[in-house]
Amino acid sequence: MIEIRAVSHQIAGTPILHDITTRLPEGRLTALIGPNGAGKSTLLRLVGRLEPLQAGRISVAGHDIATTPTDRLAQVMAVLGQQTLIASRLRLAELVAFGRWPHHKGRPTAADRAHVAEAIRTFALGPLADRFMDELSGGQAQRAHIAMAFAQDTEWLLLDEPLNNLDMSHARALMARLRALVDQQGRGVAVVLHEVNYAAAWADHIIALKDGRILAEGAPDAVLTEDLLSRLYDAPISVGRHQGRPLVLHHA
Amino acid sequence: MRVLPALSSALIALMLASLTIGAAQVDLRMVRQDPLAMLVLLESRLPRTLAVALTGAALSVAGVLIQALVRNRFVGPDTSGTAEGAALGLLAITIWAPASPLWLRMVVASLTAMAATALFLAVIRRLPAREVMLVPIAGIILSGVVGSVVTFIAWQHDLMQFVGTWLGSGEFSGAIAGRYELLWIAGIAALLAWLAADRFAILGLGDGVATGLGLSVDAVMRLGLVVVSVVTAMVVTTVGMLPFVGLVVPNLVARLMGDNLRQTLPVVALSGAVLVLACDLVARIVVAPYELPAGLILGVLGAGLFLWLLHRRPVHG
């Protein structure tokens, strides 16, 4: 479980988050949604200790992120930011192999190599393993980074807008893989999603943020209602149903 | 508009100070009775004061122009290869035609300054448009590259001393009657720019807007290039390049008054003159009776101001 208590944050004097208190259930796929500038990425980055915590407390699987050594946290959660451009010229397999670094600190064992091979297989990257990262398409590079986070083999996986730059089929495939991680391996996944319908289709738990505050949270059916979404996005939105899950429509 | 009178009085006060301060005592009230003081005044103090004011004014205006040409606030004639280009021309003519008359040397220096600036413009046109900060970096490096060519050639011909006076920090101690008059050309070039101020203001809005308003972009670019190069070449030859003047002054004025160049160019020119006069005075006072190059003071002050400009909170709505 990820526990967030009384977290506030500001960047250069502008408040981004106001007194956020919530929980992300373990072994579930949680989606953070909300309009631009709602603070959803900031919240995820705070949990992933990519930004320093200014006020409040956050604990991940019982580890307070302010007091737990960062290398210990790396064995509990893997976090993938939006910026995935890297300066060094790496092959895909080499990049994924870095996911094992928290476990071996530079001296990989056979078990580490097995994990890397598994990650490459899971994300169907085998044919690209020897390619340099800068020779890959945006979608392929994105998958490689997620494979690296996967290889870290942590209880929690945090992804900041992983569907950026992905077309519909790749986005769908990625969400299906994340779903499988949750269902088959019992990992907890938290994703910031820009497009509400991906949350509607794949998430177990949704946290809706607006202007740095939580507007609603809960199961998709509870959060993705016409009234709530219209307030969230300040626009008339209608919600239909498709295959037993909500379907969000903007042409109301 | 109380800026102009304030700046004018500051300029007059600084010029009077510049006329009185120095190794020899000059009392401006008694100067008519004292032939020696008169000589010092007319042969040394007045030329020096005029040289400083002209240099500051012309370099600042050149800074406005180069910033309009490249549409980037973080460049100046000292970071666009212009000064190094002028030095290269001077070096070439010193080596190949040492007996050539002064006007020819000036023409050659202006032409090579122009060529180097044109090279800078060509380089930055190939940079990604959004990367605003890359333009000054490219300019600084290009200046360095052209500068190292100058150094290399000067070394071969044992002319390093000349390069030192052209590109080393600018110094006004050599500005006496008969050796500073070229700076008037720089002043006239700057005046010319003021007459075409509207065109440069429009150029700063972008090629599309300029063409839409019926302006020949190429012609304005050429005029700007000529003015910047001539001003820089004259300064390099007579007193040596001064750092940061052309970069900092236009920025400070634009921050206070905006970019309507017809109104701001006189302010820019006056501010430049005031700044350089103040620096020159400081340079003369700190280690009196010796003096420092004014460019050294400007290097410290200008770098500080530039860092502030670079990191201040952007003013936006």
């Binding site: 290398d71 890297i86 192999a97 670094w101 490459i120 | 973080f74 050294l296």
Partner: protein, 325 residues
């Protein structure tokens, strides 16, 4: 590097071995080529001194540039472009000016040098640590800040130099201009010691540097103590820059060529390979270049100018190819 499935160590090993051989050949050439019959022992001693100095500087510049580029996540920077060596020159001037020629310059060269680099490490890691940890979002602005800081430091040093008395000025002047011709031989033993220790420390960090090169977010996610590693690496860079600046003076773009060659030749992202490769390349270029210019072309003074010219052009080329991000 941690090869995932197929281990692929061959290329880097061959490249490193080749570079070692090349350096050995060039060094031998430097020592024994054109050795007359006369006072062999004396000439050999002179040449050995200079060889050691050039090798030290080459290694220091190569290793520090690779590390610095990794910290900055940027392949077009050198510590020198960002004002490191200017800071050292300023520091040296300030120490002489404030502590006086008798007190400070009177100290043995080694003690003086060690106190200078201690101060340098402190200041550089503070200043550049702040700049680079804060500025990571806007890299071009960070670079420009560094460049202008360099100008500021140089101007301040120049200012102090002019204000202080001429005898003091002579003490610091030597360090302000690059010259591979007049190396500062008195510092060699202590400089060698500092370089060896710093390079060893850097090499021990190579696994962490590999992770750092993935960018801040990825490095933090992998549990790297990002801030601590950046500061440690910057301190080593400051040590190495102090050595090269003290021995020959500032060299702005040389590191760029060395790092570019190291990346291109090894085609590896592993610092365990890159760092030694850059060190070897740096030493080879300096020794070979000085041999060429001093002994063959008879123009000892111009190597630094040529190196700077080529480095500047290479920088512009990288800039135009859009490699700055």
């Amino acid at each position: 590097m941690i090869p995932a499935a197929p281990p692929r160590p061959s290329r880097p090993v061959w490249v490193l071995a080749g570079l070692c051989c090349l350096l050995a050949v060039i060094s031998a050439l430097w020592m024994w080529q054109g050795l007359g019959g006369g006072n062999r022992g004396f000439v050999l001693g002179l040449r050995a001194n200079k060889l050691a100095a050039l090798a030290l500087v080459g290694v220091a510049v190569g290793v520090s540039t690779i590390m610095f580029q990794t910290i900055a996540a940027n392949r077009v920077l050198t510590p020198s472009i960002m004002g490191f060596d200017a800071l050292y020159v300023l520091l040296q001037t300030a120490l002489v000016a404030s502590l006086g020629i008798a007190g400070f310059a009177g100290l043995p060269a080694a003690a003086k040098f060690l106190s200078e680099i201690a101060l340098m490490v402190l200041l550089a890691s503070l200043l550049f640590g702040t700049l680079m940890l804060q500025g990571a979002r806007d890299i071009p602005r960070m670079i420009l800040t560094g460049v202008i800081l360099g100008v500021l430091f140089r101007s301040l040093a120049g200012f102090m130099g002019r204000v202080m008395d001429p005898a003091q000025y002579a003490v610091v002047q030597a360090a302000s201009f690059a010259s591979f011709n007049r190396v500062n031989a008195t510092l060699l033993p202590v400089a060698a010691l500092v370089t060896v220790l710093a390079v060893l420390a850097a090499w021990r960090m190579s696994a962490r540097l590999d992770v750092l090169a993935l960018g801040r977010d990825a490095a933090v996610s992998l549990g790297l103590r990002h801030r601590a590693v950046v500061i440690a690496a910057l301190s080593l860079v400051a040590l190495l820059v102090s050595v090269s600046t003290a021995v020959v003076g500032p060299v702005a773009f040389f590191g760029l060529i060395v790092a570019g060659l190291a990346h291109g030749l090894t085609r590896s992202a592993s610092h365990a390979v890159l760092l030694p490769a850059a060190g070897l390349i740096g030493a080879t270029i300096l020794i070979g270049g000085q041999w060429l210019f001093e002994r063959q072309l008879g123009q000892a003074a111009t190597l630094s100018v040529v190196v700077e010219f080529a480095g500047g052009l290479f920088f512009l080329y990288l800039l135009l190819k859009g490699r700055i991000r």
